[in-house]
């Protein structure tokens, strides 16, 4: 019996090792855009709910790029935006919808890492390329998924930068909070890891629930531990309440958070003076001329509209490069060449030069620390040198 099992095992192993499919250029299939039909760029972000401010900003950024482009090889380009609620189940449904739409060539999104992670599996199944402007969780580019790219940074860079800043200020006793999401939790764990490996001490590490409004119990619990800094991995709706309720609880520590809180409307304005002196991490400011054009059209920009603008442009440039025009006026776009064209991007975007590494991460990402300051009656994010 043992011998039989062994033979079976070897046979199975041999099957796995040798039965790999041969790789062809058109193995991923093609997208055909018929004559008189538009080319669709998909967009998945949160358009309703607590983080809709950030999601709509992303949509506006992508929409601006698409509107400026207008048409590719005689076919109009349109943006199709879907609300993925910043969460797994809805993102998967949206991904299925986009992947089965014959006119969608690629996608800007998804907004949240918790949505991008399961959705990228669907996209990988159908080989539809996606460029996220805002999903920063480290593992997204570490899972060997070839169709995922991002124009933002990853959380390893972001958490490392935040921790380096905290250490430069000699804040060695820190408390970390997170919102239990793929994004917030991994970010806060990374941050805590950096602090501890540099001789600092993490005095508390707690999770909170997205959508909750009362964080005073957890802050009261943290208060006697006397942290010098509270780091929060999560989004602005909860972040701003933590900053406010820290003051109420009488915690003297500084508040620091991530790009999820880099929004003027939902963090600085919603927080009132309680957010003064808070720190957040985000990219370098985008091209000011672009910001002026954007704000004339959509009002104050929030967070990821520049990254979404660049992401949409990268997709459209790749389509332009690989689309073949047929005699009947239709366009044929190979999914593999399209993905390869995105991977080979070398583009001077409004957020700086964009080149992807082998995993889909942007090379040379720079994360900047901003402080909320009040100067001459105006409250804004000011870059901090350290």
């Amino acid at each position: 019996m043992r011998d039989k099992a062994l033979v079976m095992f070897i046979v199975t192993l041999a099957c796995i090792l040798f039965a790999r499919p041969l790789v062809h250029a058109d193995e991923w299939g093609t997208i055909v855009i018929p004559r008189d039909k538009p080319i669709k760029i998909g967009l998945g972000s949160m358009l309703t709910g607590d983080y809709a401010g950030m999601g709509i900003d992303i949509m506006n950024g992508a929409e601006m790029a698409v509107a400026e482009k207008g048409a590719i090889l005689g076919h109009p380009v349109v943006l199709q935006a879907e609300d993925d609620g910043c969460a797994g189940p809805a993102s998967v449904a949206v991904a299925e919808k986009f992947c089965n739409d014959p006119l969608v060539v690629g996608l800007v999104g998804y907004m949240c890492s918790g949505g991008s992670k399961p959705a990228s599996d669907i996209h990988n199944k159908y080989k539809l390329v996606m460029v996220s402007p805002s999903s920063t969780a480290l593992e997204l580019t570490a899972r060997g998924i070839p169709i995922f790219f991002r124009t933002c940074w990853n959380d390893k860079i972001q958490a490392g930068r935040a921790a380096a800043f905290a250490l430069s200020r000699n804040w060695r006793n820190v408390a970390v909070l997170h919102d239990k999401s793929d994004y917030g939790q991994s970010l806060s764990e990374d941050f805590a890891g950096h602090i501890e490996s540099n001789g600092g001490k993490v005095v508390a590490s707690e999770g909170i629930t997205r959508g909750d409004k009362d964080f005073s119990p957890v802050l009261t619990k943290i208060k006697p531990l006397r942290p010098q800094l509270i780091y929060f991995g999560g989004m602005s709706a909860e972040g701003v309440l933590i900053a406010r309720q820290m003051k109420r609880t009488g915690i003297k520590a500084r508040f620091m958070s991530d790009d999820g809180c880099y929004t003027e409307k939902d963090f600085i304005q919603a927080g009132g003076s309680a957010t003064n002196g808070s720190f957040v991490t985000y990219a370098k400011e985008p091209d000011p001329a672009w910001v002026e054009r954007f704000e004339a059209k959509y009002g104050p920009r929030q967070t990821f509209s520049p990254q979404a603008y660049d992401a949409a442009n990268i997709l459209m440039r790749a389509v332009e490069k690989v689309a073949g025009r047929q005699t009947d006026g239709s366009l044929v776009i190979g999914k593999k060449p399209l993905r390869d064209a995105v991977a080979a991007t070398e583009y001077e975007g409004i957020t700086g030069k964009i080149v992807f590494d082998a995993h889909g991460d942007r090379t040379g990402s720079v994360v900047v620390v901003y402080e909320v300051v009040e100067e001459k009656g105006k409250r804004f994010f000011k870059p901090v040198d350290f």
Partner: protein, 308 residues
Amino acid sequence: MGHMLDPVVIIDQIINGLTIGGVYALIALGYTLVYGILFMINFAHGEVYMFGSFGGYAALMVFVNSGFAQRHAVLSVIAAFLAAMVVSSVLGALLERIAYRPLRGAPRLVPLISAIGASIFLQNLMMLVIKARMHVYPDVIPETFIEIGRVSISYFQIFIILSSVLLMFGLHLFIQKSKTGKAMRAVAEDRTAAALMGVDVNRIILITFALGSALAGAAGVMVGMYYTQINHMMGFIPGIKAFTAAVLGGIGNVAGAMLGGYFLGIVEALGVLVMPAEYKDVIAFGLLVLVLVFRPTGILGEVVSERM
């Protein structure tokens, strides 16, 4: 862990618990009043609270934009409370008239389903009105604190605790002393007998809904001013927690709803000290399960079956 048992921390947590507990209690009263009279759970009650919060928000924004709030902060807050209570009591009365009264003779599941339908409808209605964005209450009165020893307490917290107690005391007086209150108790005890004695049952039920809803509207403004963020889904979790509080205290029992609200708030706040904060909601719903299993009538519960 030594820090956790510091009396100052425990006092702070009890204050936190009393604050949110007052809100739970005010909402729970609406559940319990309606249950006391109709033996039905008004699951749209969380939405009544949400509408009240938006009513107060709309009033405050009008005052802020016209500059009135900057001159008369206290007056505007009082007006916001009144606006919220009017909005939610009108909504509560409408709910009764449209969603529940036509089903009064139906089996008990039917009005429950109608309530859930009304809840979903109201959430979506508000979502369309506010374009699904989070709204932020303006800071009309700057928050200040008083220090008693090492305990610091915010005026907002004192205000919420005091005004919820006052509102509940007012409700108690109303039910016990006024003629309408007497009629409410009569209808709760025996609807048919009350009708035979000349009580206008429909009117009393309408008033009960309006009363419970007004308290929820007041709670909505308190939450708006204290926690600042409101949205169309804000009624859901507090609604369920207040329902838990009502069951905890003994549903149908007014004093029980108050007790249950404060109890739940304090247990949540203290529970965070002994377990990770992410389990805060688990505490509330764990309690609900325990009460339903071991003491379905709640802490102060009346034995409902005897009354029916």
